[in-house]
Each structure stands twice: as C-alpha cells, then as structure tokens.
Symmetry: D3
Subunit: 208 residues, 6 copies
C-alpha cells in the first residue's frame, strides 16, 4: 500500500509535467498562426479523436458530378496542431474535382473504388498524369495545381490526407469566376476572352 | 510567332527560377536530418508519384494475425520532404497490431473493412479507446503508445497516413524482447518478472 | 603577448565550435528537402552575399509587357537556408504579371516606381484588390492566386521578397496551356471550352 | 542634450518595433499548439528566467528508489516558446527511471554524481547502452524508449534538458498498468499473460 | 439555375473548410510563441494587406544621421504568421545604422538610393563587407552583428525585408549603454574602460 | 519455431520501414541547411551517443579567467538533427564569459559549482540580471546579448544546453576587435573612440 502511495504521488507529479500530447481545437476562440486554442484536457473525450463524416459518399448530383467532403480541423477539431487532415472524394462517372490547389499542404490520395485519373502541374509546367485503380496511392506536392477525374463507367471514391490540419482549398474556377473580381482584370491576368469570363461568372454566380 | 518566342523565353527564365516543388528521394545517397537528397527533376516520372504496394491485403497468417504494409519514404521515394507517409493495416479476426509508437509522426487511420478497436494512452496515462467501423477516421497524436485490434468476426483493413515521410515504428514487444537488452535490465526497468521476460525473449528471438 | 596567445587559442577553439551561420549553396550538388548543400565557409567571399541582378529593369517588350527577374537561390546562392528570396517586377503601361501562385512562400511587394494594381483571392474566394503607389508595401499570403497589373501611364517597378529561398512560381496560363496536358482534361477540369483552350495552347506553345 | 532627445526618440520608436524576444507563459490562459499565451513584457521580471526547483535531490524513498523533478514550462514558464526544458534525475543505489518515452523531444543527460547506466532502443530494435560517470553526456533521440538505472553503490544524479518546452513523459508501466485499459486489451497487445498484467495493475493502481 | 444552386452549396461547404490563408494580428490580445491571435476573416479588409509607412524618408536629423522605419507585425498586422516583415532605412551622408542584430530573422536589403556600405561579422569573426549601389541586394544571416553606413555624398535609402513577422532589433550601443546595466558589469564583460562606458551611458541616457 | 520465423519476417519488413530515429553527423561531408549528412545506421555505435569532453574543467589561466568547452555537433556528432547541443563553462574567481550571442539557439544554464552572475539584454534594452547558486537554472532567449561572471571567491562551473545542434557563438569583442574590420568603421558603428578601438584590436590581434 505504501508503495502504491509513493508511486501515485510520483505519478501525480509527473502527470502535471506532461501537457499537450494533443490540443483539441476550441473552435469558438480566436485562431493563432499555429492553429486554434486548445480545449482543456479534462474535457477531451475518446470520441473527440474519431471523425465519422467520411463514411458515406457525398452527393454527386451536381454540375461536377462529384463531391469533396472535408474532415479538416473545422470538422474534426482533434486534428488541431497534429499536422494532418482528411477528406473524402466521390466522383460519379464523368465526375471531376476541378483544377485546384491546397496552399498549405501536400496531399496523399488512396483510391477506394473505381478508377481515378489524377494529375498535377509543376512550377516548371511539367504534367504528372496517372490513372489510378483501387488501393493505389498518389501524392500531390504542396501548392501545385491538380485535379481528379473519373473517366470510368462506375462511381469512384478516394480517401485523401493532407500534411496540415488546415490545408486550404482554392478551386481555380471559383477563384476566378465566383466572386467580384472585375471581368477586365480576369481577362487581363488570364488571357481568357471577356465572353468566356462573363459566361463562367454567370454560371458560378460571380459579378463584375 | 514573335509573341510565342517572347513568351517562351520568359517561360524559360522563370522555369529556371522554380525548383523543388518536390524532392524525390535518391535512396542510394546519404540521408540528412531533413530527409534524402533529391533525384534531379529531369529524371522524375509521373509514375514516381504513385505507390501500388497497398492495394492488396498483407499476409496475416502469423502470430499476430495481422500485417502492416508500409508506404514510407523507403518504399515510396516521392514522399521525401512532403511531410506525409502511408501504410496499410490488415487484421484477421482476433488480429492485433501490437502496442507501438511512431516517434516522428502523428497518424490518421481510415477503416476500409471490418471493425477495428483502437486506442492510445496519453502522457497523463488516460486511455482513449474506440471501436471503429468502415469509413470512420481516428487520429493518434505523435509519439504515444497505441494499438489496433480486430474484435469482430470478419477481416478488417485500414489505410493510415503519417505526418512525416519517415514516421518510425517502435513496437513495444520487439523493443523489449527482440534484441540483446539484458534480461535484468528489462526486469529492472519494466517491473516484469524474469520468467516472463525470458519467455518473451524466447518467442521473439531476443537474447541476454 | 602571452595574453594574446591565450586569447587566440580560446578564439580558435570557439571558432571550431561555430558553424553554419550561413550555408551558401553549392548548386552543382544534389538538393535536399531543406535546400542545397553548403560551400565550405573558407570558400565564401563577401561578394557572395550581394546580388546585382535586380538593378536594371527587365525587358518588357513581350506579350505581357512585363518582366519578372528572379533572385532566388538559383541566382543568389547565399540565400540557401536563410528563408528569404527576392525578385524584381517591371511592368510597362498595360503590363501584367499574370495570375500565378508561389507554392512555397508568402510575398511582400515594395513599389519602386509607377502604379501597380495588385490582388489576391483567398481560399474562401474573397478578392483582396488594391492599387499601390511608390513606397507602399503589399503582402500576399502563401500559395494563393495573385497578380499585378499596371493600369497607369508610366512604367512601374517593384522589389519583391519571399519567405523561402525557393518560393516556386506557377503561372496559371503556363500551367494550363504551355504543356502537353490534353485539351479534354483542361476542358474537363476548368470548364473552359475546347476552342479557348486550343487557342491558348497555340499561343503558348502547348500541345495535346 | 538635443542629441539625447533625438536618440531616445529613435530608441522609443525602435523598441516599439521589437517584440517577443521571449514569451513567458500565462499558465492560466488556454494553450495553443505552439505553447501558452505570453505574459505582457512589462510584467516579466528577471527572476522569471530563473528556476530553483532542481537544486536539491528529489525524494528517492519510493518503489523505484528514484525521482524525476521536472522543470518544464508548467514549472518554469519562461521556457514557453524557447524550445527547451529541464529536469533533474535522482537515483539511489539500485534506483531506476523506468522505461519511458518523451513523445515531443530529444533529451541530453549530464551526469552530476554517481554512475548511471542508460540505454535506448531504436525503431530497428537496436539497443544503445552505456554506463556513464560524472561529467559525461548522453543524448536520447526523440520518442524512443529509454531508461536510466543506478548500478553503483552511491546515489546518482543527473541534469537533463529537452528540445521542447513541453516534452511529454510517457512511462511504460503507468501507460499499461496505471489506468482503466482492460486487462484483455493489455494482454492482447503486449503478449504478457493476464496474471502478470493483473498483478502490475494491482501494484500501480490500475483497474479493468 | 439548379446548377448554380448545386454549385453554390458546394462552394459553401468548401469555404467552411478553408481557414487561415492568413491571420491578421489582433494586437489587443495576448501573443503566443507563434505570433498574435487572428482577427476574424470577416473583419479583414483588402487595405489591411497594404502598409504605407515606408513611402517617405525617415527623419535623419539626429545623432546617427539615419533612421529606421519599421513595418513589423506591430505596424503591419497582416504580416502575422506569414514569416516576413519590412523596414526602410534612410541614411544622410555620414549616416550610420549602428552595429546591431536581429535575434529572430535573416535580412535582405535592397538599395533604393545612394551608396550604402554594409557589413556583417560571422561567428568565426570573419568580416563580410561590401559597398552597394542602387538595385543591389545584400543578405545578412540571422542573429549576426551587422551595420550600414553611408560613405557617399548624397542621401541613401534601402528597403529591407526580414524572415519573420517580428525579427527583433538589438542595437549594440543601446543594449550596452542605454539601460541600468551596472558600469562594472559592462566593463567586465566588454573590456572597455570605465570612462568610455560612463561617457556613452551619459550620451545614451543609461544609468548605473 | 514457425511463429518466430513469421514474426522475424514481420520484424524485417518493419525495420526496413524505420529510418532516421537519429542522424549521426558525417563531419567529412558537406553540410546542408538542416545539418550534416548522416552516417549509415549500421556504423553507429552506442558510444557515439556519449560525449566525454565536459567532465573536466577547462583551462581558466587566460585573460578572461574562464573557459568555454563546447559539445556542439562538431565535437558530438550524434547531436546532428536532434535540436540540442551542450557546453561547459568554467569561471575562476573574477572570471568572465564576455558579452556574446548565440545566433541560432536559446540556452539553459545549470550551475554546477560556485556562484555565477548572469544577465541578458532584450531587444527593448531591458536588463535581466541574476546571481545564481548551484542547482539553479537560467534561460537566455535566442540571439540576445548575454554574459556570465564569477563575482564569488571560489571557482564556478556550469553545464549549458542549446536548442540547436549548432547554436553559433558570436563574442562581442572578437567580432569587433579580432579581425580586419577597419577601425573607422568600428568607430562609426559603435561610437567608441578610435584609441579604444585600436587598443582592443591590439590586445585581441585585430588589424585595420
């Protein structure tokens, strides 16, 4: 009994010394450059480390016949500070995750079902294009334009992971056409013609 | 035509400026604290960014009824410097990935098939234990002891990702019993009795 | 004299201990994820820390009426490992630095001459657009699409700095149209029409 | 006098520009992934940079005949953000700091008194074992299982430093036996027999 | 119309996932080791990314005939977390930015006007000294003593950038002579004579 | 026996996956910004993790009555990549470690013997001065001017640790007076008078 008491007092002292194995995000408080403030460890439950939002296919009944379901720190607060986040991609036949970048992370994609043709373009403008089957993994380096497309005849799905709890996602068409960036500036900086820009702004809800 | 020439000369100048979007590992050269030296970009092919080693279940006909198939930088050199690596877990019924740590990375696990009971222990000795079904994701903070076990009746599998190209993997039983660490030191530092230590050393091929 | 000898022996001992205040790149050796290997300090000269390539305007007699002159680690090896690089922008009237990203760095721009209209688009597709005059500074967060344009009547110039020795530079039009990415994939992932894609591929030297 | 005024106004301007040489932790506020929030510099005293808790031996009258006295950020708030923390180890003859890891830091150990036998096990299960005398230093790489033991006849002591303000400390026996992790899961993931597990749970206050 | 609705709902979902492209500092809240807490993105304006304080020369009518105008995170909150900050140097003829260090950043200097003689000293006590003309860039590695001086006959100016939002600035003479560090300690640790120390303390407002 | 074979084959597979728990420096090969290239793990011995150079007092029979004995990566190659280094300070009565900085690391000092008066100056020119006795620890934030002095009557010694394998060491007097930095530039940038500068250059072996 004496031994237990001695040991537990040692345990207590050491536990006080051990902090921040993890830092589950308090999404209601201000962020910092390194992520969200932490919930106190005493309020963290085992279930906080589990995210169930990626188990079912996203709705692909839309213009891109595809869906991105994020499991970033905003959806899965336990990722805060751990340098990882997740998402699920679903692509109906002919579905496409349009050209996009993640400004803050590299990405690995694991094909769950179907066939996915994926590619990225380097700073040197070289194209790295591959068609993947289930179980194959592809890596996309940080910040480079990339896309995924289903050229097969059955639905495709993938589980993706990022090297940041908050990788960001900049979809090219939305960045160019779904806001109030003036048409003449889009034209001037992309060499697209004004008619094309205005048409896509119309489709995507942009103005200007 | 003139315009093309001008543009291409601009292109050329700028391409020279752009380096190291990626750094595919040259596994034959010495490592550095930040990873392997890079293959020259001109020798990098699209297929280098794809890893096909995780598409089929590992062999679970072994003492743990389970298999870990790594897709770390050693197997998938394009991961070098990108802060990510991958692996596949297969667990037959009653299979177990024994208690272990990754000294250099946090981990996210995505259940592909079956049911996986997973847990980790914090520095404060709290246990975070969950039983996961397909599509669920669990995160394991860096460096903490954790395990996965299949308590279901069908095979289980998971795709896991780490926050480092080279997360390390220290399996507790191998660290304690599969080397020449003297029995008396194992006994003295773990409070296990000598008979237990010697028995496990016997099973795992350890000496001392 | 004795004192000097003692001190110099101390000096010698301490100098041995001091390494890598800087790591001037050896551009002929393989890179690593953290940058180039270092030239030996004894071969480093004071002039290695100076770069003279940004003192004169770049040639703006081209299709974009603008020029980017990089002073990245490839041109200015002393930047290696110091987390900084530089460039000069020159824009004739109506000149434009087309929509682009730097996958590996944030950027600050200091206007030297003329007027520069600059903008970036966030992951949330919000537009941050400003017209700058000489002496003003604008910051562009890492990895986001941005551009600079001269809407004034006189030449404009800027000195820019990046938060990495090797920030990368991905110019949107070059990434989409100046390589062999198949037209149908460009169409499918950008929602541009095939005629537009083929026209721009023609101008920019792309194929496919 | 004029000169002083000019200089002091310069001084004032520049001092405003200089912040966060240090960030003494405010332990009462929420943590972030990068550490605690800072106390305002005006409230920081010279004595905040001194920690006096390691000057006397810890109490070794316990089951391990040893003591770990931490000087982590929780005890020594000035360490916050500086990438360092400290501790003192005391080992009576036959004392042992049991097998443990620091999930978030590497460690250097400087022997103050007596003889310390220390070892760590690598991911490749290799054992690195050494017996140290006063003045010797040993380094333990991040996240690997290690231990210290006094095989001499006199008390031993060491000053240790970690590469993080908050290295964490996971003691193997406490992680396995001093909490509610079910016996069958401990058995299943460690290959220890149930009797051994139950006995150690009994000694260490664990349940399940 | 249906398509727009589908797309916008996708857009909405994805925007929720994207956070912290930037983290404009809330200077009224406590700092953290990684910088200030962020203003909410909805309150961030395009003009927050522009700093106008460097457009006009600083007042050089002072003892050093020079001025440093900082554009650090304290003056330009959008820099928070982006790893960059800025300043302007103005040096009248014979003006000098006295010997100083930036404890937290490397620096690049771009000469705007005039001639600047700049130098730094390495840990090995080697001197790297250069005289720069407009358009030349010099880099100063982190933490090393350096200075700038105008040996020409016309005013000189430079735009400088640092590899941290908060580089710090420790001016040697102020550190030694403009505070209450006792004269005998200054003498003892610098080998200057007491008369020199007292004289400079007098000029710079120091005591002790 | 079968089980052992299965387990060992698993062990073999996993060991291949585990790399770079440590990266013992190969001092003969070129450095990188992240440190030295690694010796192959098979050539690393247990004794590589031990450094014996700090066990005996340095020779204090010199002008400063003090000695700094470094245990940086150059002396102790196992520190490479682990973010830590060490040194020993010895100060005879009236001994002084002169005013200096470590450009690349914070420092913790543990007093072994005697009394040490230590101080540092912040960017805001505030002085943090303390007199320490054996067992006390003081932390010195990265890059700031600091010093240690023995104002007691008995020898003093300290063990210090840095937050980098290669912290650098810039001793103020050596940087100013022990090289060929021209006297007029030293005078101009420090406000010391020429006679003082020339005298100290004479003592310390400087020229110019």
């Amino acid at each position: 009994m004496m031994r237990i008491i001695f040991l537990l007092s040692l345990l207590f002292a050491l536990s006080n010394a051990s902090v921040q194995d993890f830092c589950v995000a308090n999404l209601k408080r201000a962020e910092t450059p390194a992520g969200y403030q932490c919930i106190r460890p005493m309020h963290v439950k085992a279930s906080d480390f589990v995210f169930s939002g990626l188990g079912t296919p996203g709705n692909t009944t839309n213009i891109i016949s595809a869906a991105v379901t994020p499991g970033f720190v905003g959806q899965f607060p336990a990722l805060n500070g751990l340098g990882l986040s997740t998402a699920r991609l679903d692509l109906a036949p002919k579905g496409v995750i349009p050209m996009h970048t993640h400004p803050g992370a590299s990405e690995v994609l694991f094909v769950l079902d179907g066939s996915i043709t994926a590619g990225f373009v380097s700073s040197a403008n070289a194209v790295y294009l591959q068609t993947l089957k289930p179980g194959q993994v592809m890596v996309f380096p940080q910040g480079l334009l990339h896309f995924q497309i289903n050229q097969g005849k059955t639905p495709a799905a993938a589980f993706v992971t990022f090297s940041s709890a908050n990788p960001g996602l900049q979809i090219l068409d939305f960045a160019l056409f779904a806001n109030n960036l003036p048409t003449d500036l889009v034209v001037g900086t992309t060499f697209l013609d004004a008619a094309t820009v205005k048409k896509l702004k119309g489709v995507l809800g942009g103005t200007g």
